[in-house]
């Protein structure tokens, strides 16, 4: 048997379509999965910063200071700015960026961040951002 008859008789069309579909599905799934690997790894490496993994702790830790919604918003903006700096950053530099960026009440917000220990002195003249404290008080 030859030609289209042979293909039809041996179910060739179905085998080809299903085969191509399976190969494609497999590689698309793999492609999507490996595109997420680095994100999952990032999540795992920063798991201590995730509220999900800090549920029990966060229940026990009662924020001593309540930030107003406006302060929280400014704090978030400060955090974005701090992320553009080194881990141990210059406080005057952060303040300067906040002023340039037009954040509301940059000085008092910075004072609040220092007061609430969201920004902490590294004892070497620079400061660091305490992400866990930020999550407790702002997020």
């Amino acid at each position: 048997m030859y030609g289209l008859n042979a293909i039809n008789a041996h179910n060739g069309w179905a085998i080809s379509v299903v085969g191509v579909t399976i190969v494609f599905t497999g590689l698309v799934m793999l492609s999507m999965a490996i595109a997420q690997i680095h994100k999952l790894l990032d999540l795992w490496e920063n798991r201590n910063e995730l509220s999900l993994f800090r549920k029990k702790e966060s229940v026990n830790v009662q924020p001593q200071v309540q930030l107003t919604p406006g302060q929280k918003e400014s704090a978030r903006q400060f955090k974005l700015l701090a992320e553009t700096l080194d881990e141990h950053f210059s406080l005057p530099r952060l303040l300067s960026l906040a002023r340039v960026s037009g954040i509301d009440h940059p000085h008092t917000t910075l004072a609040v961040l220092l007061e609430t220990n969201i920004i902490v002195d590294d004892t070497q003249g620079y400061h660091v951002w305490d992400i866990s404290q930020f999550k407790i008080l702002v997020s």
């Binding site: 210059s90 406080l91 005057p92 009440h105 000085h107 008092t108 004072a111 004892t123 070497q124 003249g125």
Partner: protein, 149 residues
């Protein structure tokens, strides 16, 4: 606002001074109120005042991006923490509304120059406090002390 003398008494640095020494300082001090965002000194300007914090938070921005935050009543901002040979080496910015006592620099230096026992006591406290709290401030700034010795 609390009297200047009470502000000095709260300071660890001035607490060992005798009453008459404190009274002498009180003569040259005055209290001020500053608003958040106000700049008290600018790096490179001629140094005219030292400061004692009563309430509020002040950012002391040093060279090289380093900084200190003053927020305790009685914190002293002067000597190598603020000036070198008559020039401010830091920029002071009030982060919140502050109440401060200001001491004219020349008067303060004259006080510790003329009053040896008080100066000795103050400088010992200052050195201890300084090395404990601000170890990262390098010797290159330590010149205001030499100015009067």
């Amino acid at each position: 606002m609390e009297s200047a003398i009470n502000i000095l008494k709260k300071s660890e640095l001035f607490s060992n001074l005798a009453e008459n020494d404190l009274a002498e300082l009180r003569e040259v001090m005055e209290t001020r109120t500053v608003q958040a965002g106000e700049t008290l000194t600018s790096l490179g300007d001629t140094a005219t005042f030292f400061f004692v914090l009563h309430t509020g938070t002040i950012l002391v921005a040093l060279q090289d991006g380093k900084s200190i935050v003053m927020k305790n009543s009685g914190d002293f901002i002067g000597l190598e923490l603020l000036s070198s040979k008559g020039i401010y080496t830091a920029t002071l910015t009030a982060l919140t509304p502050c109440e401060i006592a200001v001491i004219p620099r020349d008067a303060f230096l004259a006080f510790i120059q003329e009053n040896s026992p008080a100066a000795e006591m103050f400088m010992q406290s200052w050195d201890r406090h300084h090395s404990l709290m601000y170890p990262f401030i390098t010797e290159q700034n330590l010149t205001d002390k030499d100015y009067h010795y």
